[in-house]
């Protein structure tokens, strides 16, 4: 009984401490509400689940773009969210949660690549798992993309060096600003612009046969 009362008291205290976060900060729903982040910081598992629901897909896809192996990407995404949970208290600006998560994801992927090199394993596979498209995979709207083009883009992405691939993925697929990408990668905006431009030129060269103006 005493335990129950203590638990209720603790919960109330937590609500009082964390409840203020609701409605205090305003932002678009495209980022997760800061109130949710504040609740997650206070140990609210449901709130952290909301964060996972919102960012699981982009984080996993980003990592997959970096490592080209779905199974490994899933492991690293899991590690990313576990680390995020562990260090959530250190997140200073709740409004920049996604930038912070991408930064962790990038570090996790980089550590994995480093470890793989140590183990003499090849992370950047010659034939990425992602290129072996399953026949059962769902084909969304095929207005512009066919399987061949998808594979070509995959190969072109793999051919980019790490810095170019990261900035290309964050800018083009995840629509991050230079400022955010700089926060994620630690690179200067000048370097990011140069890398992105070069990445685009390389991609363009490979895609040229597929695109023609009507």
């Amino acid at each position: 009984m005493n335990d129950s009362i203590a638990a209720v008291k603790n919960e109330k205290t937590r609500e009082e401490a964390c409840g203020k976060a609701h409605g205090e900060v305003r932002m678009a729903f495209t980022e997760i509400a800061p109130g949710v982040v504040a609740r997650a910081k206070c140990g609210d598992e449901e709130a952290f689940h909301l964060i996972f629901n919102r960012y699981g897909r982009p984080v996993l896809s980003f990592i997959h773009n970096l490592v080209h192996d779905r199974e490994l990407a899933e492991e690293l995404a899991q590690e990313t969210f576990v680390r995020a949970h562990r260090n959530l208290g250190g997140l200073r600006d709740d409004l920049r949660l996604s930038t912070w998560l991408f930064g962790i994801a990038r570090n996790v992927a980089r550590e994995s690549a480093r470890q793989a090199r140590k183990d003499n394993m090849k992370v950047g596979l010659d034939e990425p798992e992602s290129l072996r498209l399953e026949s059962k995979s769902i084909l969304p709207e095929g207005a512009m993309l066919d399987r061949e083009l998808t594979e070509t883009i995959q190969k072109a992405l793999v051919a980019l060096d790490d810095d170019k691939r990261i900035v290309f993925s964050l800018k083009i697929f995840h629509e991050k600003s230079y400022e955010e990408i700089s926060a994620i990668t630690g690179h200067s905006i000048g370097k990011l612009k140069t890398d992105l431009h070069r990445a685009r030129l390389e991609m363009r060269k490979r895609l040229a046969p597929y695109i023609s103006a009507r």
């Binding site: 409840g19 609701h22 409605g23 305003r26 932002m27 678009a28 729903f29 495209t30 509400a33 109130g35 140990g43 598992e45 449901e46 952290f48 689940h49 909301l50 996972f52 629901n53 919102r54 699981g56 897909r57 982009p58 996993l60 896809s61 997959h64 779905r70 899933e74 995404a77 899991q78 576990v82 562990r86 992602s130 059962k136 769902i138 084909l139 969304p140 709207e141 095929g142 207005a143 512009m144 993309l145 066919d146 083009l149 998808t150 883009i153 995959q154 083009i172 697929f173 600003s177 230079y178 612009k193 685009r200 991609m203 363009r204 046969p209 597929y210 695109i211 023609s212 103006a213 009507r214």
Partner: protein, 292 residues
């Protein structure tokens, strides 16, 4: 502004990374210079292709991933890991359970008549695709006969609940784009193989494309409603926001689960119906939130 300068800043212009004055200068130059305007069009085409590539290849985390994360974070904090999703997530039983919780839960409390013009417009965005897709899915369920689908709305077709009946969409499934994708074999040049005859799409592929189109329309509407809600957020009761977010998470879970089911059972048209139903509920919820 000259062409050299414009070309240097064009990408940043399209990313929205320029300040107002540079933005205006580029815009003015593009109005006068066909060469730079052509480059802009090319970059826009590429971006559209990359966007579609991302939509196609991005990965939805499996439910098991959350379970694994939860187990690890609970282990770190010393709390026991309770299973919320259980074995039901593996199939439709779990999916239906989420929907039931949704209907009976916070979503029900939040539903109210929708009048906001923007929200209504957002809903209209999806009507066309969803109606056509629903028809198509019904055809699939009934063992719809053959390929070469021409999406004409039958007068006997029942539109999805909450969706305004709309005229038949174009039969050009690939229509609407500004460019053509030409396989290398058809693009000319030395050593060119003769163009392969266009492959007739299977019923399954057509169905998946229709679903994907409807899903994209839903996502557009969701994006619009996001903006509307963001503007009104500071006027909303924090408790309502909390319930809204919980409901949204449930729906997103449902959407993710139905996507997985579609992948596991690609020939089952019911999976697509569930997916679109979940989106319809998300839109309902967001419309309600947007008009508060």
């Amino acid at each position: 502004m000259n062409c050299e300068r414009c070309k240097k800043e064009l990408e940043d212009f399209l990313y929205g990374e320029l300040g107002e004055s540079r933005d205006a200068a580029i815009r003015a130059h593009l109005g006068d210079c066909a060469s730079c305007a052509a480059l802009r069009d090319q970059i826009e085409r590429e971006n559209e292709i990359f966007t579609q590539f991302y939509e196609r290849t991005s990965i939805e985390p499996a439910a098991e991933m959350w379970e694994a994360i939860r187990a690890r974070i609970n282990a770190e904090s010393g709390a026991p890991a309770r299973s919320e999703t259980g074995a039901g997530w593996a199939g439709w039983a779990g999916w239906a359970g989420w929907l039931d919780r949704l209907r009976a839960g916070a979503l029900g409390r939040l539903l109210a008549p929708a009048t906001l013009r923007q929200a209504a417009f957002a809903a209209l965005l999806v009507a066309l695709s969803v109606t056509a897709t629903t028809i198509f899915l019904k055809r699939g369920e009934n063992g719809g006969k053959k390929t070469g689908f021409v999406s004409q709305v039958s007068p006997t077709t029942t539109p999805q609940q909450g969706v305004t009946p709309s005229p038949a969409p174009s039969n050009d499934i690939a229509g609407g784009g500004k460019q053509t994708i030409v396989p290398p074999s058809q693009s000319g040049g030395p050593g060119v193989k003769p163009p392969a005859p266009p492959r007739q799409l299977t019923e399954q592929e057509l169905m998946n494309r229709q679903i994907a189109r409807a899903e994209r329309e839903y996502q557009k509407a969701v994006g619009m409603l996001d903006q509307v809600i963001a503007k009104r957020r500071d006027r909303l009761d924090p408790e309502v926001i909390k319930q809204y977010e919980s409901s949204l998470a449930l729906i997103d879970d449902s959407i993710a689960a139905s996507r997985r089911s579609m992948q596991e059972r690609p020939g089952d048209p019911t999976a697509g119906q569930f997916l679109l139903a979940a989106y319809a509920r998300k839109l309902d919820l967001m419309q309600d939130m947007a008009m508060r």
